[in-house]
Symmetry: C2
Subunit: 332 residues, 2 copies
Amino acid sequence: MALYFANSSEGMVPDALAGFARAHADLVVWEREHGFVRARHTSPARRVGLVSGGGSGHEPLHIGYVGAGMLDAACPGRIFASPHNRQIFEASRAVGREGGVLHLVKNYTGDRINFGIAAERLGRQGIPCARVLIDDDVASESDGVAAGRRGTGATVLVEKVLGAAADTGMGLRDLVALGEDLVERCRSLAVASAPHTAPTTGRPAFALSNGALEYGVGIHGERAEHTAAHRPLRDLVGEMTGTLARALRLGRGSSVIALANGLGGVTQLELYAVLGEAARLLDDRGVALERALVGDFVTALDMHGFSLSLLEVDGETLKWYDAPAQAPAWRR
Amino acid sequence: MALYFANSSEGMVPDALAGFARAHADLVVWEREHGFVRARHTSPARRVGLVSGGGSGHEPLHIGYVGAGMLDAACPGRIFASPHNRQIFEASRAVGREGGVLHLVKNYTGDRINFGIAAERLGRQGIPCARVLIDDDVASESDGVAAGRRGTGATVLVEKVLGAAADTGMGLRDLVALGEDLVERCRSLAVASAPHTAPTTGRPAFALSNGALEYGVGIHGERAEHTAAHRPLRDLVGEMTGTLARALRLGRGSSVIALANGLGGVTQLELYAVLGEAARLLDDRGVALERALVGDFVTALDMHGFSLSLLEVDGETLKWYDAPAQAPAWRR
């Protein structure tokens, strides 16, 4: 646990955005006045603008996925706080096209409210606007609260696939249907063995004894229902993979993309081992691992933990997943 | 600080390599018996095979840079330990071409010895072999010991540029000259505010009080000459950038590539802020920032720290830097 490298805790996000804009000036533009990042290059065939956003502290999500073949714009909020609806409204007006604008929203109350207000304002201006709500985290499924499942790792996959689909000229209604289908076919689960550092205090955001695991942690440090014991990776990933496979009813003949995602403080050695264990278990079940993503895609500041996501795919989804994109955190 | 997610500390590297090979089966092959990763696709124009390697725990270095346009092979050692000379010998035999093989070696005693023994064996088999020694870390410059400067962030840039140059059909002697020139034009400096976790004990690898900075830390946790106080990022990066600019004699009209590299436990928010501060200081000095790399490229397990590297470039170097490559950690 250590202090962040920063000028001040309030300066972390604006200073990072300035550096981000400078580092990736060939791919993105940071519209500082209106608070959104937009793609410098986009496909002329695209008829619907794709806009996402959410609290900062999850980088590269969402700003790293702005660019040709992915998002048209992303609105970063303060750390772990929703962007303001004005940011979303301005971004949507700037990148909306003849077919309107699609909002890709992680399922958190603040994000839902702010994207909702922006959508109402866009509607009053006659700009067609629809939403795909991303809620893939199985750990929050049994909460019994109205909020529903949290949105986590699926977001990256949805942003990639919908970006490629939008580039074919697909309309708003079909994009919504595709997006909702993707969300329904994707589930995630996260564990942490140490909390993230709170930016304002420089101290651990929650208490977790050494050797304990938060099994089902959220990307803002939402506590799990119960704390579990640290255990060999094979057993841990086995349990996680089994839970995801059951949730998606995967079986012999199913095909998936797997995402072994670092929450900020874990090493690539650990993440590749996670992928290896998951792959072995999918093999045992006769599930085809079509593609694997390993690295930091949706983080929780410097939390020492990882998430595992599985997306069930067909040939068309794979084709869109494989389509070239040029975004700061996704270049193929 | 927390236990690693692993089956065992000894299993961390082999388990990660198995997952790495599975995740990137389209790009690389893990030759388990001989202990090296080789590229699945390479340019037919290449006449010299490029081989690197070193201790594990620095991922994505080196295995992530194996692929078309970059390395032909990489030999991973155990964590923070040189690969065995047999691994290097076998990798070199496997990927050497009519023009021979070039070893890209970070300046550490173990690596020098093992690459050296492999080179002797290759020579006895009539395989032309030469070496570029990478020693960019200014913090180790004044050690007054025979070991010389350590090799760190420059390695990524050298592997990228030499990969593109090799793809033009450049011969061994010219590649060595280009590589030595690149190393001479690149300098790095690293700081940490918390140590990495030792895999065998699960405890901090060295003691550093809260609020203290190890200014000039090495990528294996080599201590700096002295501990400094934590300070605002602007001041810290200002001092680092000034030191690198003086070492490279940068001034008005110079052009550079900057690498803001995470050592494992820092966030992208922090790294982008580092890049932003460095860019501002280069602007002040009239130095053109031609390209920026921000992220985890050469890590030190989960160390909470970052390094800054500057490489002075000309138009030809930029062209090679920009050339497409398809490696797990470098796809453009």
